[in-house]
Amino acid sequence: MYKYDEYDQQMVDARVAEFSDQVRRRLAGEITEDQFKPLRLMNGLYLQLHAYMLRVAVPYGTLDSRQMRMLAHIARKYDRDYGHFTTRQNIQYNWIKLEDAPAILADLASVEMHAIQTSGNCIRNISSDQWAGAAADEITDPRPWAELLRQWSSFHPEFSYLPRKFKIAVIAANEDRAAMRLHDIGIQIVEKDGQHGAAFYVGGGMGRTPMIAPLIKDFVPLDDMLSYAEACLRVYNRYGRRDNIYKARIKILIHELGADEYRRQVEEEFKHVKSLGIDPPKAEFDRIAAQFAPPALDASAPDAIDRSDPDFAVWVDQNVAKHKVSGHAIVNISLKPVGGIPGDASSAQIDLMADLAEQYSHDELRVTHAQNIVLPHVRKADLYAIWQALDAAGLATPNLDLISDIIACPGLDYCSLANARSIPVAQKIATRFSDLGRQKELGELKLKISGCINACGHHHAGHIGILGVDRKGIENYQLLLGGSGAEDVSLGTITGPGFDEDGIVDAIERVTDKYLAERTEGERFVDTFRRVGMAPFKEAIYG
């Protein structure tokens, strides 16, 4: 994985020093909160309901055991012994003291991490496929391109004050594990005539006005990728709606201009940008790509798995995925124990996952947008030892992609923007469906909960989505069906009137019962919904 060069380290160290002085001045009363707020946000420090919250970037969700241990250290020393992994493949700490923030950022910098551009109207953390470099279906590892975009977008002087925040995802497989088309720019590395290029999807997003990104260019030669991205951003930066925060995302611009006109303007801009020479020389890209060289995996390693322990076999079937190298596997660690808080992990659990990565996964971990953790390069022969360690730590819940593998934002328990709590709803649903046989009977069912219209919990993209709203001071939950963030991307449709906290759990049970009654052989929930439509589900829900 990528290691900082001296420029990367200097940039991060300089920012730590700068922010330390800003914090000192704020604590001394030399600057007001209005003056300080944009400075702290540039360093990922929010003020939430109960305390300051620090969001730490995990570029494209990749980190090593040393970095993971640092995340545990921060949770233990500066927070309340846990961290929250997010849908942006980042981690958040909920109980940070302002006076500790400089020390935390210095600790992060010591392991090549930071919180820069995890807030503000800039290009945020680049996200990617959590199985990158290991997936059997990818055409290449997308992370060198994601890293190139990270370097290009870090402190980009022209794009530090965009009309609104900007999110980019990069994948290189047809199976979309990164909700690519629900990003401001989604890039898929594709192959054409034996050459790799970048398909650009621009103008997707969730939030108040969910949109699926249209294809703007089906094949951009990779030598032009940065210039094309620059052109996409320039058109947005020039014409994005700075006058109205609700219309400021690029999706609104493209919707209003039309994809064809936006494409025309990007192409025109691209001709100019390409003359500026911002795409890196091949040697520089090769330097980056070399750091993502595949680990030395022994393809002759045993492929068989001893499944004599039935609990282990259940976990293997649900949480272990095919690796591109024979004898190896991808381990998905669920952070969704029944009744637990989706995405939360204690410092001890974070340390354990770091240890397992170091011992069994070539020192690599991934954070997923579904708020789970991945060990990407594991020998099948080591799976049982890994499972035993995870099981002892409460990390072996075999529910990947099942109804209890719920994405949930922090909601009104932590977030100052939220209108309703998300976590208790997730806990009640997971508890209602806690029987694993029942979950497996339902099959792949992606349930996603947001506590407000900003959609951090991706409710639009859930096969079943839940949106918490405030009805005159009372929490109310709207139900959506038929969304998907995957390659079959779609936006969910609201079923009708909302429910209270217990009512939404009952409604979901009626929906899943209806699915079981309606489905044909091999149909997932979302397939059945698309075939039969909303009407039978609506009747089951409301009578």
Binding site: E33, L412, E475
Partner: protein
């Protein structure tokens, strides 16, 4: 009644105006009545508390309580982690929040 609340500058913790100072405990909160804006302006100048604001509250036998659910959750802590609230040893402490 009206309550004045904000977040402590150093810790970010939720804090309530007591009539003379700030407290972490909602039970200590004072009804600021029509004086809220003036106190708020003075306290903003003092720069000890971030973004103070006035909310509607209710007087109860157990002391003042915020009217809105968001501020009731702020007053005690996350409903999903009783161990992290201001009263972790009292399982009934959050009964009034939701």
């Amino acid at each position: 009644m009206k309550l004045l609340t904000g977040n402590d500058l150093k810790t970010g913790f939720v804090t309530w105006w007591t009539g003379a100072d700030w407290s972490l405990h909602i039970e200590d909160a004072a009804d600021v009545g029509e004086q809220g804006e003036a106190i708020l302006a003075a306290e903003e100048g003092a720069r000890r508390v971030n973004a103070p604001y006035i909310i509607a509250g209710e007087a109860t036998a157990d002391g003042p309580r915020p009217a809105h659910i968001k501020d009731r959750i702020r007053a005690l802590g996350p409903t999903v982690r009783p161990d992290l609230t201001l009263k972790p040893a009292d399982p009934a402490a959050g009964d009034w929040v939701i």
